[in-house]
Symmetry: C2
Subunit: 573 residues, 2 copies
């Protein structure tokens, strides 16, 4: 048997190794269009700042070593031009020798990846416009930076790759501006969670424009002038594309293989295309969203590797099912970490899934042990049975751990009440006796059980504010840093003695710094006969950054968000 | 209704707060024998090195603030002497006024904790012997250190508290010696995992004696001379007890409440004692081991807090079940982290649970991004269905995350094949496309599926070594650092060409550095017709430190363990 693999990076390389582990006799051919296989594509941005220093560190495996170890016929600089499904052959162009040849296959595995999207803007066709997909791309950018001595760089798009490029170029000393079509950076986050990162980028002096796409580009000597929708003009010495990727489906489409509604190659649960002898994996395919079951494009390295492994088994007669992708992802942005798993609100709305949400800001580890900082955690769950639908977190420390725990809970089909009972490791340097994940579970489950009625940062206006009392239960010194308009302040510890000051006929909208004291105040009021009470989920820490961006007010520092006391748990040993 | 809580730390404080959140009207009394409630007992060792600087940082909540916030009647320095179950009263001794009084209760919650065990050794009754349970204890030790100017400290017992005290006193400049009855430190670890920590302690110049208990103590002026079982004599200026804790059951026992076989207060799944109006939580109770279902003492702060919350609900009429404790725990030892969850081998044997185990040493994050270090991970699982029974990990970075993920998987009843499919967050600073947890899943599941037959570090002798080939498949330069006796070396990448050198009639015992290349070699040999082949799980990295300790050979540095290449995955993007 002969298996031919098109593409030798994540999914392709993973599949080849697995195929050989399962069978010593079959012939395995890898055809890679580029000069490199199995390179560190997620590491490319870090080469721009010198965090990853050597070009050779970007190469995970050379064709020679991988070929030797797994007895593979690896051919680089070979572009597959055509698939003939009847003859079971492919037409290959050898880009070095500049000639074409045919190769037979018994099973074909497509792992062509995705290519950076270039928006249709006039003037983008200059030699000062770059993308970042592979090693030659990063070498070209590095060479331009070193030889042409640019000072200003504009990045189109504030997705993961755009932000990673921005951080690394800023660290390398360039003036960096990001231009983003949407009203937020980092699409996998919901808006209010992204606002925390907006503040951090401002602190780090990365300029960004939101909801303000580039309309046209003018040239002025060696520099480009970008004209935004708002009319604003931005001068730059180079442009890097980070507006996302599109599946490489040309080959599959030309062969008549089914393409999904999302634009990726369609595969079944065994990762077979519409031709059962042709499998496909990685960024080029349409997957099932693990939460909604709907078709999606989720280009991530972890799933690509797992798909490669699964497809390899199936090519050799296993019947392993690929169960869908939940979209666990993470990014470092200067001093903070942002991670997400499952669906965000935007997706849940699009998929018409009913959800509730809650916010917590818990210390990353016991407050009395030095170095703790808050983890801002949003959790999305079914209001019926509490099933976890997604989570997003932002913070300095321990963000990856909490989202990985919730990602595991999602895979296992757990609900928010299960999060309450997770027994996670606790010692002061690592967590709290009630871990942030436990806290998120308590808070969410209190909502489901009806122990608290909440409202959200963007829902003030949904209330008849003339018939509401906005009640701030923080300490007076906390209020000095900012208070929600028309709120009255009764500190939590005085509330029982001052119930008479509140009008029971009005709706009482409570808030505190992070939501915990607000919850305690809610309980006091409800149990003392107040009938219409709600607590602001996530408190002032969730509310304020959103208003801050919306009104273009001066820098509300993420450092300040980190500073305020979050140590309000019952017991923090 | 009046609820009286005996003990105001973890479980007691947690219960009180929850009771008040559920009910504004009931009377809640907390009786605490000591002067402090809700203090940072897990933080106490860190006060000895100055990592936690101020005494006030050890106090999480003062009686005044907690009492005010939750409307609690908190009385410190009150020792409960007696329970009258018929009259539903308790007899209390006010230790300040030195008089006794009675108090009625409707429901009683016992949260008395556990006390340090003092072994029956003659000569331990001096004023130079200390324990560390609460704030007065730590202040007494600190005062002795400052006023008596000791140079040498001996710690009895190498459990979590003993090792934490050792680290902090070493950092404060003292000569620290640990004396341990067992042949390893840190009982929650199995022996071969503990050997990694032994090496690290040696590097940090903490002296320790294993399997060598103190037999007697002599006094020589202001110093003590400890005579060990081996005859060795050790001089010291002070002694600190770290040999473990025993449940505080005096009050419960005197009242005739049932005591479990393990010596803890017996409770049902609702945390009720044998008197349904008396509940008990925390280190004083006997819990169900979540893995085996057998009775166990598992004194940990996280479970104590959760029990307090559960008991509070049940006191007010909920019927919440406490589902048992799985023993997730973690400790920082100088530069490394050790974490465990579920049962270790010792427990599984005792509980007569059939298990298999496997070892991996995976990089904490992508190898091409600076700063990665290996995580040594042991996973225990059912050989039948792959259900996860326990895990232990040692490493510099990311250990807490991986054990918390596995702890979550255990709670959800997942198996090792589920670990393969977990979709965890990946970016180069945080992990790998195939996370260490995925890798552990692959390795364990390969064993279950029969894709590999393994043997363990202590099983060489179980083979007829005269009829075995011990095959080292590492590179020659790796072998220079040490090779297993009588092994022959054929590097993996030469194996296919040198099959003729191996005798198919012999059992071939393969090993490499961490187990991955050994697995690849196993597959090559099996698929090429060799019938008797096994791979050493965890490779030389798991094997060598154990032999090193056993033979008292010179320091095998943990730094060296960290250094060797572990970057052998198929694809590391």
């Amino acid at each position: 048997m002969k298996v031919v693999i098109v593409g030798g990076v994540a999914g392709g390389a993973s599949a080849a190794a697995r195929l050989r582990r399962l069978d010593e006799k079959i012939e395995i051919v890898i055809l890679e269009r580029g000069a490199y296989i199995s390179y560190a594509n997620c590491g490319l941005p870090y080469y721009l700042s010198g965090k990853i220093q050597k070009e050779e560190d970007l190469v995970v495996q050379t064709p020679e070593l991988l070929g030797k170890r797994f007895n593979l016929d690896i051919r680089t600089n070979q572009e597959v031009m055509e698939i003939n499904q009847i003859k079971k052959t492919i037409l290959i162009k050898d880009q070095i020798k500049n000639k074409t040849y045919e190769e037979k296959y018994d099973k074909l595995l497509l792992s062509p990846g995705a290519k950076p999207f270039i928006p249709p803007i006039k003037g983008l066709d200059t030699d000062k416009v770059f993308s970042l997909r592979d090693i030659p791309d990063v070498l070209a950018i590095k060479e331009f930076l070193e030889k042409k001595n640019p000072k200003r760089v504009v990045i189109f798009g504030a997705g993961y790759i755009g932000i990673e490029i921005a951080e690394n170029l800023k660290k390398a000393g360039f003036i960096v501006t990001i231009i983003e079509l949407m009203d937020q950076i980092l699409g996998p986050l919901d808006y209010e969670m992204a606002t925390l990162v907006h503040q951090h980028l401002k602190e780090k002096e990365v300029e960004f424009y939101l909801s303000d796409p580039v309309q046209s580009i003018e040239h002025d000597g060696s520099c480009q002038i970008l004209i935004l929708a708002s009319g604003k003009k931005i001068k730059t010495d180079m442009i890097i594309m980070g507006v996302g990727v599109r599946p490489e489906i040309g080959l599959a489409k030309d062969a008549g293989l089914d393409i999904g509604t999302t634009g990726g190659i369609k595969v079944n649960e065994y990762l077979q295309t519409s031709d059962p002898d042709i499998y496909a994996v990685g960024d080029a395919i349409e997957v099932l969203d693990y939460i909604s079951g709907s078709a999606a494009l989720i280009p991530l390295a972890g799933p690509a590797n797992k798909q490669g492994r699964t497809a390899a088994g199936n090519i050799l007669g296993e019947r392993s099912v690929y169960n869908g992708t939940q979209g666990s992802s993470i990014i470092k942005v200067f001093d903070i970490t942002i991670a997400t798993t499952g669906n965000n609100e935007k997706l849940l709305k699009r998929n018409k899934i009913t959800y509730q949400k809650s916010y917590t800001h818990s210390p990353s580890h016991a407050g009395y042990y030095p170095g703790a900082s808050p983890i801002s955690l949003k959790i999305l769950f079914s209001p019926d049975d509490g099933k976890i639908l997604g989570a997003q977190a932002v913070g300095k420390e321990g963000v990856d751990k909490r989202i990985d725990v919730i990602a595991t809970a999602i895979r296992a089909g757990l609900s928010v009440s299960d999060l309450e009972n997770l027994e996670l490791c606790y010692a002061p340097p690592y967590g709290s006796a009630k871990d942030p994940v436990n806290m998120a579970g308590y808070v969410a489950n209190n909502i489901i059980k009806g122990d608290v009625d909440i409202f959200h940062w963007d829902e003030f206006e949904q209330h008849d504010l003339n018939n509401c009392i906005i009640l701030d239960v923080r300490k007076p010194d906390e209020c000095e840093e900012g208070i929600i308009e028309s709120a009255i302040n009764i500190p939590l510890d005085e509330l029982r003695d001052r119930l008479g000051e509140l009008d029971n006929n009005k709706m009482i909208l409570i808030y505190c710094q992070v939501g915990l004291r607000g919850y305690l105040a809610y309980r006091i009021l409800k149990l003392n006969g107040f009938s219409k009470v709600k607590n602001l989920s996530g408190g002032y820490k969730t509310y304020y950054p959103t208003t801050c961006i919306q009104s273009n007010c001066p820098l509300y520092s993420y450092e300040k968000i980190l500073k305020s006391d979050v140590l309000e748990a019952d017991s923090k040993k």
